[in-house]
């Protein structure tokens, strides 16, 4: 707690000093600023600029990487799935080198396991049980608030920025009670189907810090950008698991507490951009994701969280439709990984920019 207070004091102490000493770019016309091509604009928004982003990611989880880094085809064992990820962000250029923002997301995914059949014989009857399993994750993500700072000089060809923020545990993180059902067969009295339906949510459950740094350099129409970031939990969390018992075709549930410490998550993105025209930029990004540390309690023992790795190649483009609207489109192709899903995905983001207060 003491560290958080020190952090807040440091922020309060430094922001006014910096805000008074900013450099205003030469260009002041808002339409020129709004239509600034990627290779000519800094890492942050301009002073007074407001950006609203809305994104949608559609991912096909047809394969995953196991603990040895081997690719596992999920379609062949019947557990392939898709997921839908929605994202919204609001950010504002407080000055030409300080940006404030907030973002959140919504995730919906369901993983079906292969159907199994079990023959059950009691002293009174022989029954055939068909077992279906659906593991669903659904819900809002946590609210992420952040500040981003860039070099306090005018952007010519090189820029460096840092970004710090926190994921506030606003979303529900505990698994909801399963909604299993039992369906009797209309044809045969000794047959029934058990539908297992597990309901997970999307929140971290604890505050999570985010610290990132980025650098960008441009040479004529070519630009390169690198972003490195870490997410680390503030503290250990507590959540629940559900025990279920099927008795005479009726489910009963009981929850059990467990503790956990989220892993640190590291992301590195390195992208190469080409500004084809003033309104069209194509790029290719290499994304490396890795987790380390953390643990989860299982049945009274604390186990290290498995280390995850995932490398994606993401070609994409940035299309300026109007001075206010820009479309970003990215396709993700998993290359290698470990202990991780490896979905192919399409990520579309619509960005709306404006200067709400006239410059």
């Amino acid at each position: 707690m003491k560290k958080h207070i020190i952090f807040a004091i440091l922020i309060l102490f430094f922001i006014p000093a910096g805000a008074g000493g900013q450099n205003i770019p030469v260009v002041k016309d808002k339409y020129v600023l709004l239509t600034m091509p990627y290779n000519q604009r800094p890492l942050n928004l301009y002073r007074g600029q407001l950006q609203i982003d809305a994104g949608y990611k559609f991912a096909v989880r047809a394969q995953s990487f196991d603990s040895n880094g081997e690719l596992v085809n999920l379609k062949t064992n019947g557990t392939g799935s898709v997921y839908h990820y929605y994202f919204a962000e609001l950010k504002y250029g407080l000055t030409n080198f300080i940006e404030l923002g907030a973002e959140t997301d919504y995730l919906r995914r369901g993983v079906r396991d292969a159907t199994t059949k079990v023959v059950s014989v009691t002293t009174t009857a022989t029954e055939t049980v068909t077992l279906n399993k659906l593991t669903e994750s659904k819900g809002m993500g946590d609210l992420f608030i952040y500040s981003a700072f860039r070099l306090p000089i005018e952007y010519h060809w090189f820029d460096i920025g840092i970004k710090g923020g926190i994921f506030l545990p606003t979303a529900k993180s505990e698994a909801k009670q399963p909604t299993n059902t039992v369906q009797s067969s209309l044809i045969a009295s000794n047959e029934y189907t058990v539908n297992l339906h597990y309901n997970y949510t999307n929140g971290y459950g604890v505050p999570v810090y985010y610290i990132g740094t980025s650098a960008k350099a441009s040479f004529r129409k070519i630009s390169a950008e690198a972003v490195w970031a870490i997410r680390t939990p503030m503290k250990e969390g507590t959540s629940i698991r559900w025990d279920e018992t099927l008795t005479e075709k009726v489910f009963t549930y009981k929850d059990k507490l467990y503790t956990y410490l989220l892993s640190n998550a590291f992301t590195t993105d390195i992208s190469l951009h080409y500004q084809a025209t003033g309104w069209f930029n194509v790029f290719i990004n290499g994304s490396f994701f890795r987790t380390k540390g953390g643990w989860t309690e299982y049945w009274g023992n604390k186990y290290m969280n498995p280390e995850k790795k995932l490398v994606n190649i993401e070609p994409g483009f940035e299309l300026q439709v109007s001075p206010s609207i820009t479309i970003y489109q990215v396709a993700g192709f998993p290359i290698s990984g470990k202990n991780s899903d490896a979905p192919f995905y399409l990520f579309t983001t619509l960005s709306y920019n404006l200067f709400p207060i006239r410059r």
Partner: protein
């Protein structure tokens, strides 16, 4: 003027960077963490790596965290701090090397049921024993009840109860072959015999078998276990299913896809809530509350004849085998 501003701005930039990096040093508690790669694994133990015998009759975790095993012909062994300590007639005052079962008393003493009475190992390595001078006391089961009473079942001489003033024998015709004794969550003592069940409710005995219309899978009750979900499990020798009793009455569960019969040697609930069944010929069956799943030789078990189940202080399951020692199973984490 411009240089001063740039200096201020750089100062701001550096200050924020330092304060953000300071957050990385969050306070964390250090724990001894387990490797997830060890979860879901089977580890085999036999005479080649420390067990005194390859037939295990009983497994019990004591209140000090020691894991005890008993053997029908090799005495008993205690697994503590990564090493086995053996107790046999040759190096201790135990009555016999032929031990069928064990339990821990309310005072922390370990009670061994032998083929010729019971031996008790108390603190300070003090041994005491009890034998019945009138008959051979082949102990098959021991239960220390919540009131501290020690219930001892025998193979053909009924059962003995010690409520603090010595063992008192109780014998019922037809119900004299005791296989198992258990206490339920209401304080009732259940005794499994070759002729059905006996229930002691604190004041009287009730006898239950298929002969008096009790819906048991079979009258040869081999084991009874109370689980953490308020279910009293009843395993039999030869029934098609295993039974459990709860507030809703008696239920049956088929373990082996409707096989004509199976012999349940032991029942145990793990920390995860799964109920495990040791069978005489069909390996292990794990019931997760919805469907049973079999574990046999092709799943990692050294053999399909399993006699007994126990748990160590870390929650690992230990299965005592008929001919091939014991196997430790670390629960999977998914």
């Amino acid at each position: 003027m411009r240089k001063t501003r740039i200096f201020q701005n750089f100062g701001c930039f550096a200050g924020i960077l330092i304060s953000l990096l300071a957050l990385l040093s969050c306070e964390r508690t250090n724990y001894d963490l387990l490797d997830p790669a060890t979860a879901g694994k089977w580890t085999h133990y036999d005479t080649s790596n420390g067990l005194p015998g390859n037939t295990v009759s009983g497994i019990k975790l004591d209140s000090d965290g020691n894991l005890w095993m008993t053997f029908p012909d090799q005495g008993t062994a205690k697994y503590t701090n990564g090493a086995w300590v053996y107790y046999k007639t040759a190096n201790s005052l135990i009555l016999s090397n032929s031990i069928n079962c064990l339990a821990e008393s309310s005072s922390g003493a370990i009670i061994f049921g032998t083929t010729n009475g019971i031996s008790i190992l108390s603190a300070g390595n003090i041994w005491t024993s009890y034998i019945d001078a009138t008959s051979t006391m082949t102990v098959t089961s021991i239960k220390v009840a919540s009131d501290g009473a020690i219930w001892v079942g025998t193979s053909d001489q009924g059962f003995y109860v010690n409520r603090g003033s010595g063992f008192v024998k109780t014998y019922f015709d037809l119900y004299q072959n005791i296989n198992t004794i258990e206490e339920d969550n209401y304080g009732n003592i259940w005794i499994g015999t070759n002729h059905g069940l006996i229930r002691w409710n604190g004041s009287s005995f009730t006898f239950m078998s298929t002969y008096n219309s009790a819906p048991l899978p079979n009258n040869k009750i081999s084991c009874i276990r109370q689980d953490g979900s308020n279910r009293l499990w009843i395993g039999t020798r030869g029934g098609k299913s295993v039974a459990w009793v709860d507030a809703g009455g008696l239920h049956n569960l088929s373990l082996l896809n409707g096989r004509d019969s199976c012999i349940i040697n032991d029942i145990f609930q793990d920390r995860r809530g799964n109920v495990w069944f040791a069978t005489a010929n069909d390996g292990l069956v794990c019931y997760n509350g919805i469907i049973p799943k079999s574990y046999r030789v092709n799943n990692g078990l050294p053999e399909d004849k399993v006699r007994t189940i126990g748990e160590d202080k870390d929650g690992n399951l230990w299965f005592g085998l008929e001919n091939k020692g014991a196997v430790k199973y670390t629960l999977p984490i998914n």
